[in-house]
């Protein structure tokens, strides 16, 4: 059953999820790093993401609902399978989201809300990483429903991807801080970026060794001839970009570390896509099989092709409005 719109929706969804990861990634990363700085730097860090975070989280809703609309079968199987990681992620996002407002209004409980902001960011990130790990490993499916237990998600691999994503998001967060701050906080962010980058590289290496060993299909995908040759640029580029990111973090260069970190995410994203293609429920359903009918996809595509550029335009516009650096102690009081 060939549906001409499935590739288009696959692309839109992939782009949407990637935008979410890159954008909410940096603000969740700033949230995690928030726990590691002196209290007088915290306000600056929070201000660096204040106007952006709720827009960034909107991409999460769009990713979820987009999956539901374009590949409903995948949504109906994957989300129940990661019941608890999703629950934990949502509750952590709730805590962290309200901490933005509450910390400035409950001064006597500021330590609590600081903890909620940092802890919420860390837990939400870890939970997202576990969702990713569970997804890569695949689920127990019977017919059109998830047939395992709600505790199936707790595997060593999912723990690994949980920690991996924490390093990834702190790398994005640190390089965002380099763009948005200056002075002591900026130098601190460069160091934090270096440490996170080491964690990211170790995590990418372990995942790259683990997945082919655990799954013969992924092994064949990467190491059969001629795939080996065609796909070789991907790991080579990743190594090259990691080195480049390391150098740009140490140089007097403000925007490059962020762009390079996003690039590392993009390559990892492509790596996962190569491993799983064309499955959307790994081991069970392909993108084609899980797709909604053409009438549904066409109806949504018409509006999306018009609205998504508009959304990107004014999202970009609000980033442009708040393009300058945030500074400590220069606020209008």
């Amino acid at each position: 059953m060939w549906q001409s719109l499935v590739p288009i929706w696959t692309a839109i969804l992939a782009v949407g999820i990637f935008i979410y990861v890159a954008l909410d990634g940096f603000d969740l990363g700033v949230g995690i790093l928030y726990g590691f700085v002196e209290p007088d730097q915290r306000e600056t860090m929070m201000s660096s993401i204040g106007p952006f975070w709720d827009g960034n989280e909107t991409w999460l809703i769009l990713g979820g609902v987009g999956l539901l609309a374009a590949f409903p079968l995948a949504f109906a199987i994957i989300i129940p399978a990661v019941y608890f990681p999703i629950l934990i992620m949502l509750l952590a996002l709730v805590f962290r989201g309200v901490a933005f407002e509450f910390r400035f209004k409950q001064i006597h409980l500021q330590r609590f809300w600081d903890g909620a902001f940092c802890g919420g960011s860390a837990v939400a990130t870890f939970a997202q990483g576990m969702v990713l790990g569970s997804f890569i490993q695949g689920f127990k499916v019977e017919g059109r429903v998830f047939a395992g237990s709600s505790f199936d998600f707790a595997t060593p691999f999912a723990l690994l991807t949980g920690f991996a994503l924490m390093f990834g998001y702190t790398l994005l967060g640190a390089s965002w801080l380099i763009v948005k701050t200056e002075g002591g906080l900026q130098s601190w962010a460069r160091k934090a970026g270096h440490i996170s980058l080491v964690g990211v590289c170790v995590a990418i290496a372990i995942v790259s060794i683990w997945t082919p060993l655990a799954s013969p299909a992924i092994m064949h995908r990467w190491f059969d001839w001629p795939n080996r040759l065609i796909l070789a640029p991907l790991p080579v580029l990743t190594i090259g970009l990691a080195i480049y990111t390391w150098r740009s973090l140490g140089r007097d260069d403000e925007l490059t570390p962020f762009l390079a970190s996003v690039g590392l995410f993009l390559l990892s994203f492509l790596g996962i896509a190569v491993s799983l293609w064309p499955m959307i429920v790994p081991g069970k359903y392909t993108l084609m099989e899980a797709a909604s009918p053409e009438s549904t996809q066409a109806f949504l595509l018409v509006g999306t092709l018009f609205l998504l550029p508009v959304v990107l335009f004014y999202t970009g516009w609000s980033y442009w409005i708040f393009r300058s650096k945030v500074r400590t102690g220069t606020g209008y009081h």
Binding site: S47, P51, V94, V98, E101, Y314, I321
Partner: protein, 460 residues
């Protein structure tokens, strides 16, 4: 078993959506109010409007933040706890939810940042425009989500294949039979809810002499809104009820507390519904008025709940009582709106202590009415998620155990019981500080969020 995954999932849905609906009930109306105030400030240049706008924008910021985080929870509920519902209905409903995200959420999130933080960074007309865009976003969001809800009540424009819904006619799907009534009824309810909040807060500020100038203006604005909208809402509610009679007769029977089909049916004012016995106990009735109200003729027939198969009957008690609560609140609201105008005509509005006190105490009435109305329509739809076609029991995620949902429900309860009272406490704090101390200065614009704002390039 009572405490199974199905029952607990329903409780969890009630819990997360009941808290969430309180926030749009305030923010939809408040966003429009702020847009009006920003417009007045922009066109007249009078700082009074900007002060009032800044005051409500601070409250809006807190409620909107809580609305965003409790709203992200909602679409994921459909996957975690209602995956069979998702699989069955997604072809028809998911694009509407996606359009909500595309048309509303991004609009709100992007322009809210400018509204809150950007007064110094953008020209005044852009600030006003941002207010308009935020308000438009809230109305778009309401449009799509109510279209989805209405389709579940009165499904149209689809066919069923392999036990799943497939779209045939999108216009019929979106503008399904109950949608226009439900949309107007809901938006009006949200505006009225906000109107009573503004009225109550203004009455408080006036009584405690915190910012009397601003309070008087707020009071008059909200009374003008309410004297128009409350009567309109009663008419719209009546039309909505007639629509329910046509498309969801079992729900209507539950609302009316009517067990046996009857022509010249009485209106049951009060009683104790007994589903097992199939009759209303201790009923207090007015003869023939039920038929008159619902069919607009004295002899019109109203179908009773006993005429439906046992497994297709909604429970009567909740729709019966919550509907009566909603109507009672509407009558009280009408009294307040009218009394306010009468006092105003006699020049006594600002000094009638009893009235100001009444306004203060009735400020949360709209929220109670919204929850009551929502309970009426949702419980009245049972035992279906898609009326007459998909049962609630067949909608739940099959892999869930009672324990799974007991854990998640407990955590949602714990987190919401921390978050919502705290947020509501903040709003009270903002109200106590009043609107007068604000100048047009940035302190007001920053909405209390942070003392480290963005420095505009030009201001460097």
């Amino acid at each position: 078993m009572m405490w199974d995954a199905l029952f607990l999932s329903r409780l969890q849905w009630v819990w997360v959506v009941s808290w969430h609906i309180l926030l749009p009930a305030l923010t939809v109306g408040l966003a429009s109010y702020i847009a009006v105030l920003e417009g007045l400030a922009f066109y007249t240049g009078n700082a009074l409007w900007a002060r009032i706008s800044a005051f409500w924008t601070r409250i809006f910021a807190v409620s909107f933040g809580m609305g965003v985080v409790s709203g992200i929870v909602m679409p994921f509920q459909m996957g975690t706890n209602w995956s069979r519902f998702s699989d069955t209905t997604a072809n028809v409903l998911a694009p509407l939810l996606a359009y909500e995200g595309l048309t509303a959420f991004f609009l709100e999130a992007s322009f809210l940042g400018v509204l809150l933080f950007g007064r110094k960074l953008v020209p005044p007309w852009v600030h006003f425009f941002s207010g308009l865009m935020v308000a438009a976003g809230t109305l778009f969001s309401t449009f799509w989500i109510l279209s989805v809800n209405s389709w579940m009540q009165t499904p149209a424009g689809f066919h069923v294949e392999d036990g799943r819904f497939f779209p045939d006619d999108w216009w019929a799907v979106i503008f399904n039979p109950s949608f226009p009534y439900r949309y107007i009824h809901n938006v009006t309810a949200f505006y009225i809810t906000t109107g009573f909040v503004v009225l109550g807060v203004a009455a408080y500020l006036l009584r405690s002499d915190r910012s009397p100038v601003e309070a008087r203006v707020m009071m008059r604005m909200s009374l003008n809104l309410l004297i128009i909208l409350v009567p309109i809402q009663m008419i719209v509610g009546d039309l909505h009820g007639l629509n329910t009679r046509t498309y969801q007769p079992a729900k209507l029977a539950a609302i009316e507390g009517r067990y046996d089909t009857a022509a010249r049916a009485p209106l049951t004012l009060f009683g104790i519904p007994d589903d097992a016995a199939g009759k209303m106990k201790y009923a207090v009735e007015i003869p023939a008025l039920g038929s008159l109200l619902l069919t607009h003729t004295v002899d019109g027939e109203i179908k009773g709940i006993n005429s439906f198969p046992v497994d297709e009957r909604p429970p009567v008690a909740i729709p019966f009582f919550s509907f009566r609560l909603m109507v009672a609140i509407a009558l009280l609201m009408l009294f307040i709106a009218a009394a306010g105008q009468i006092l105003r005509a006699f020049g006594r509005l600002d000094t009638a202590t009893w009235f100001l006190r009444l306004c203060q105490w009735t400020a949360p009435l709209g929220f109670v009415a919204v929850i009551a109305g929502w309970m009426t329509t949702e419980v009245g739809r049972q035992p279906w998620t898609v009326y007459g076609l998909l049962r609630t029991a067949q909608s739940v995620t099959p892999s869930l155990t009672g324990t799974d949902v007991a854990i998640s429900l407990s955590l949602y309860m714990l987190v919401y019981l921390i978050m919502f009272p705290t947020g509501i406490g903040f709003m009270f704090g903002i109200i106590r500080r009043g609107a007068a101390e604000d100048s047009l200065g940035p302190a007001a614009v920053e909405a209390g969020r942070t003392t480290t704002p963005y420095i505009g390039q030009s201001g460097d």
